[in-house]
């Protein structure tokens, strides 16, 4: 069954007459399929190779900032998700991506209740980037970041629901009596999933299940996880496994896990072979994605903009 495309956003109820205010509704869709992500990025990113290179760079920059400010991993991870979501809908530009990363971290600190003043964050950011800012420049920089903040929040449609893989890892392990050592391995994997775009595709609960299953396989511990009981999506679990294993097979030396367990270099190929051909996220034909107004260019100037969480769509239909 296909749902009519006018449910996607932004929606302009009727074509505006001269001088009339345009209003739009922006839905939040925190999880997308691989093709949807690629389509969105094709509109905002000229060179995906450059984007990915800079993404690694910017994530290690964020890691340094978080180490200095002693933020927990969850703050860093939230910032990494925001950063990637930002560039689904805003064009990527090599001169400003550090600023975008900074604002992502700033919003993440609020979301994770690890509050730091923006001034303090900027002080560390400029130190890590070797920028010498006098107090006036620092103040200007602060204003620029605040200007970006609203743009970021509009991009994520004010959707601050962020799940954490670490939380589900522990909760699932304790529920299913998976040993702590194996959960630790899965936790080490989790940082690598944030370096990729897995969190844009799969929710934290599915990622956690995938990582626990991989860690159990790696440590040869038998576990039987009932997806239905945990309300996780099998396709998203498989998507996570395939992405992570592919990353380890082709780029193990660049992974975080390799810095802790370098000797496991060759094991991931075997895990991939054992996984076999699994059902990943269902993709629609490209033309449907192209018709989807959700991927239209975002307007930050439209007169009236409303933001809605995706699962409030029923309410939206009723109003229309």
């Amino acid at each position: 069954m296909s749902r009519s495309q006018d449910t996607a956003s932004p929606i302009t109820p009727c074509s505006p007459k001269k001088g009339e205010m345009i209003s739009s509704i922006q839905l939040s869709r925190p999880f997308l399929t691989r093709l949807q992500i690629e389509y969105a990025q094709s509109k905002t990113i000229d060179n995906i190779v450059v984007y990915k290179q800079r993404r690694n760079q910017v994530f290690s920059f964020l890691m340094k900032v978080c180490n200095t400010l002693k933020f927990p991993m969850r703050t860093l991870e939230t910032a990494m998700i925001y950063y990637q979501r930002f560039y689904l809908h805003n064009s990527f530009n090599t001169s400003t991506y550090h600023d975008v990363a900074t604002v992502c971290l700033f919003v993440a600190t609020k979301n994770e209740e690890t509050i730091k003043k923006l001034r303090d964050i900027i002080a560390v950011v400029s130190q890590v980037r070797n920028m010498q800012l006098n107090s006036e420049q620092a103040e200007n920089y602060r204003r620029r970041i605040i200007g970006l903040e609203i743009k970021l929040m509009e991009t994520i449609a004010f959707d601050f629901r962020i799940g954490h893989v670490e939380e589900y890892l522990v909760k699932f392990s304790k529920t299913l009596s998976i040993p702590k050592e194996i959960t630790y391995t899965a936790w080490l994997f989790s940082y690598d999933t944030y370096q990729l775009d897995i969190a844009l595709k799969a929710p934290a609960s599915s990622i956690a299940v995938a990582l626990l299953e991989l860690a159990c396989k790696l440590e040869k511990f038998h576990v039987n996880i009932n997806y239905r009981e945990l309300f996780v999506n099998m396709e998203a679990v498989n998507e996570t496994k395939v992405d992570l294993l592919d990353f380890y097979i082709s780029n193990y030396n660049y992974s975080f896990f390799a810095s802790i367990r370098p000797e496991l270099h060759d094991t991931f190929m075997d895990l991939k072979i054992a996984l076999g051909n699994v059902k990943q996220l269902v993709e629609r034909e490209k033309r449907y994605i192209e018709e989807d107004a959700y991927f239209d260019e975002r307007s930050y100037t439209t007169g009236e903009r409303r933001f809605m969480l995706g699962n409030q769509r029923k309410r939206l239909y009723n109003e229309m």
């Binding site: 925190p30 999880f31 933020f71 909760k171 929710p203 996780v232 959700y294 699962n311």
Partner: protein, 258 residues
């Protein structure tokens, strides 16, 4: 730097001490850089407390707390002679009595600092700490007479709390003769009160940070950080299942592939 000038600078730092971490850190660095003069600086602290208002006095005390914490966490002082700390412990009661003064405004904060400093140095006096808590409007019999270091300071704090309670009882039962009015001259001004609110807010914010700060000496996530997360969460409960169910719904709606 010659001792006279250092002394002058340090005394200026104490006078303008605030609740901001930068100011505190700057003073700590200065104190450690010139640690040969620690005897001098100690006497500066004792002298200056007599001249400051109650807000500035408590800021100095919080600085001393931060200094002691910094020194005892620092690896540089593990084996060698430790500056400042011994003198501060010896005169701790005197320092608290100056910080509290006549008006008792700083009493509660002093008790917090006392507990924190004892914890940092591993010299807790749980018996006296409990005795302090036991002292209430209904129970005034608690008494303590100690004369050494932190224990003496506790005795002093207990006596101050008793005094406060007595004054209050007298005010309730016999307002005419209560001598509370005598200290009206030292009643805090509106400005002082606002400043105190501001300072306490800043300190409270810093205190909250201790709930989440994670030190990564290796520059990357490590076992202690995982231990903390492991202990933070329990097995799934009913609410978790509801949340998981809702999350599944959000995910389905989000892909819009059906």
């Amino acid at each position: 730097m010659d001792p006279f000038e250092a002394r002058l600078q340090f005394s200026q730092m104490m006078e303008t001490m605030s609740s901001f971490s930068q100011t505190i850190l700057k003073a700590i660095n200065f104190a450690l850089k010139n640690q040969d003069l620690h005897e001098d600086f100690h006497s500066v602290v004792l002298e200056i407390l007599d001249r400051l208002d109650f807000n500035a006095r408590i800021n100095v005390l919080y600085f001393l707390e931060a200094l002691i914490r910094y020194i005892s966490n620092s690896a540089n002082f593990k084996d060698s002679r430790v500056p400042y700390v011994d003198n501060l412990e010896r005169d701790w009661k005197l320092i608290l009595s100056k910080v509290i003064g006549d008006d008792l405004v700083n009493l509660n904060s002093c008790v917090d600092v006392q507990r924190e400093v004892e914890r940092v140095l591993g010299k807790q006096n749980r018996d006296l700490s409990k005795m302090y808590d036991d002292l209430t409007l209904e129970n005034l019999v608690v008494k303590s007479e100690e004369s050494e270091g932190f224990r003496a300071a506790w005795s002093f704090l207990i006596s101050k709390k008793r005094q406060g309670i007595r004054d209050r009882l007298q005010l309730i039962h016999d307002p005419e003769t209560a001598h509370i009015g005598d200290s009206l001259s030292s009643k805090p001004t509106k400005e002082q009160i606002l400043k105190r609110i501001e300072n306490d807010r800043e300190r409270n914010k810093r205190l909250k940070e201790t709930n989440w700060v994670v030190a990564r000496p290796l520059g990357k996530p490590d076992i202690p950080e995982f231990e903390r997360i492991w202990n933070q969460y329990q097995a799934l409960d009913e609410d978790d299942y509801l949340q998981l169910k809702e999350l599944q719904q959000v995910v389905r709606e989000s892909y819009q592939v059906l």
